[in-house]
Symmetry: C2
Subunit: 419 residues, 2 copies
């Protein structure tokens, strides 16, 4: 019996898992590699950071997700390089030979070369960061309630969010609600007029990828919650006492959350000048490298022009890309021709807090409670498994009815020396 073609998939995000699904039952062996043992539902990470959801509600073990695909093996390892000539993936655990390679390694926070920003602010891209932010925010309140010095207290109670894309908007809205509705009951010593959330955006409006009207509605909604929005200002420096804007204004704060941008990350050692914007890898309309039809790059990691614009770094693009590549590989094995990839934009959405979201589905713009219900429906659809859906729905209902963020725990990293 001939050896079956080996498909190696790098990354168990939306794209990688969609590729696994599309290869189910296909006559190949699949190995999916991820540094974590879980798939993370990144769009809800801000709800972990703001104390609404437990990590386990937005993450599921990769092995459990792919359990029913008999042709799939899971490797928990860091991918350190790819040898395109020898067709090998080098990982921290073992080296994998491949016949087909699917790179779905996503993106990381982009500090745009600002080393101070990288060292002194927190991104919001993985569970560790979300949990660290949750602890940090609560620790600031604990420390502030003991701080007599007014300046130091103000720094502790000012929370700066840099970048008003969906993550920055959703996180600042969630934090503003936590501060407005939950924490005053817990911290009676604190004067809440001293607390502020500042959202800083270099562009001219928040949620720039949405229609201007929805941006305005979202901005008004955030402002009603007490978020100060600064537009048209980039951050020129971050230091231990706060940040400085391009116009020279200083914002004194101990907490800077950096959601100003992301850049692709792949194990391919391409020179920077060969990459597209945000360091994304250029691919053909069949999502493979120009010189390597057996190497596919999908999702945030790749850049594809469609109808004159590069596809956005969004979960649906990754899912459709993964699904396409899976079908393409299956087709090639059978000698079938598959037409080029075409992304179907089913719409985008962002929550701006309890019971309010903006959604844009083609020409239809939706706002407020109806937007929120659509948001809930879509997110439940994409969460993995019944348990996580039930837990998320329960938590959202809990928040809606009790205005509560119950997961307010400061958990120190393990003191276990044996680990």
């Amino acid at each position: 019996m001939a050896k079956r073609p080996h498909v190696v998939i790098v990354g168990a995000g939306f794209g990688g898992l969609a590729a696994v699904r599309a290869l189910r039952g296909v006559d190949v062996d699949v190995t999916i590699v991820d540094r974590n043992n879980y798939h993370l539902f990144q769009p809800l990470l801000y709800q972990v950071a703001s104390g609404l959801l437990d990590p386990s509600a937005i993450s599921s073990p990769v092995r459990t997700i792919v359990r029913r695909s008999r042709n799939v093996d899971v490797l928990r390892a860091e991918v350190t390089g790819v040898d395109l000539t020898q067709r090998r993936v080098i990982t921290s655990a073992e080296t994998l030979d491949y016949d087909y390679l699917v790179i779905a390694s996503g993106s990381v926070t982009d500090y745009f070369g600002n080393e101070d920003a990288r060292q002194r602010s927190t991104g919001l891209k993985d569970l560790s960061e979300a949990l660290a932010l949750r602890s940090r925010l609560l620790t600031c309140f604990e420390t502030a309630s003991l701080t007599a010095d007014a300046d130091a207290r103000k720094r502790l109670l000012t929370f700066a969010v840099v970048g008003a894309g969906p993550t920055g908007v959703e996180y600042s809205g969630a934090v503003a609600e936590l501060i407005k509705h939950v924490l005053p009951k817990d911290y009676r010593r604190i004067d809440f007029t001293e607390v502020s959330v500042v959202l800083i955006e270099a562009g001219s409006r928040i949620l720039a990828t949405f229609a201007p009207r929805l941006s305005r509605l979202a901005a008004r909604s955030l402002q009603r919650k007490g978020v100060r929005i600064i537009l048209g200002q980039s951050v020129s420096g971050v230091d231990d006492a706060g940040l400085v804007l391009a116009n020279g204004e200083r914002i004194e704060t101990n907490t800077v959350v950096w959601t100003a941008g992301v850049r692709a990350t792949t194990p391919l050692a391409f020179p920077l000048e060969s990459l597209a914007r945000s360091e994304r890898v250029k691919v053909t309309s069949q999502l493979h490298l120009i010189d390597h039809p057996e190497v596919f790059v999908i999702g945030d990691a790749s850049a594809l022009d469609q109808d004159g614009a590069v596809l956005p770094m969004l979960a649906p693009v990754a899912i459709q890309g993964g699904n396409y590549v899976g079908r393409l590989i299956a087709g090639r094995l059978k000698g079938e021709e598959i037409p080029p990839f075409h992304y179907h934009d089913k719409g985008t959405m962002a929550t701006v807090g309890r019971g309010a979201a903006v959604a844009q589905i083609g020409p239809i713009h939706i706002n407020g409670l109806i937007g929120w219900f659509i948001w809930i429906f879509v997110h439940l659809l994409y969460l993995v498994g019944f348990r996580n859906r039930a837990l998320a729905l329960w938590s959202w209902a809990w928040n809606y009815f009790f205005w509560d963020r119950p997961v307010r725990l400061i958990i120190a990293p393990s003191s276990d020396r044996a680990l």
Copy 2:
């Protein structure tokens, strides 16, 4: 208006919170100090360590719990000392003057002076340890699935639990079930006959505080799950490759969980020889220091003889002690005499796995499914808040019906340099 008496409570465990509750509405100011911002329901910690419950299901923010007691302030700080003469509590944050002091600082893992054991094993007394154990167990399986060397693999797949009190028994039962029912579906490369759980007890039977018949039933139940029980052997050494028993037998393992004992921990600087067994502080029948009627020590931290035996280190003793001290302080303010403390033993119980528990309520000994239902009822009763009760009940039902441990996440400590 005269200043109201200040009651400082050290520790927000079962005892400290019971004292707060008993002092509600009493004409005193209360400050409760804890190093964590949450109350931890320690009896269920093993369910976090074995991937069944999220941390937030067994912990609640202290500030939220005491929210409705208007006379209570919360201080998140480490208590570093007590000045009994000046009536002051020294903490990492500020120094507190007291009129009454309630020390409810509980206990820590006791390694009996075995420094190797302390450095190379993990206790199961706080959330960090439980989360670290969860990660470690799963990491052992991930690593083992990549390990060709049979000896190394066996070490990775052997889990040793030292001490067969309730914590050791409950944890090893939960781990055995995880290994038997859940992990084989995820780790298809691993030969599960190589996996073993070893429970080591220095005494002649497990659950020594229970009736011999219940010990036997629990042991049989663990053995059916595949737990190897070693009785009458203490651990004489722990090294990087395993542990050595008193009889010279070596158990090769990378994971040693130490539940062999606990000792009291208090900020009182008493010499060791003045303390009772397990370093517990001796108190009068009114739970105060002999020379200081204004300083109370309750729960695990104190030792009180009753009917010829010292009261056990159990949650109900702490709860009844806290409640008693609260009422005693209230009584003193009104000049009322309160009779000495008397502990009412309502029974003890331990789960040995899904759908099975042993319970001992006075002369009544219960076992199996009925024991488990009683166990569920009692634990729901003592968990704090509707949300945690609902989450715990949901998780137990989930485990019961699906034989699942859904929280199988390996989360690295934060990579956030800014924290």
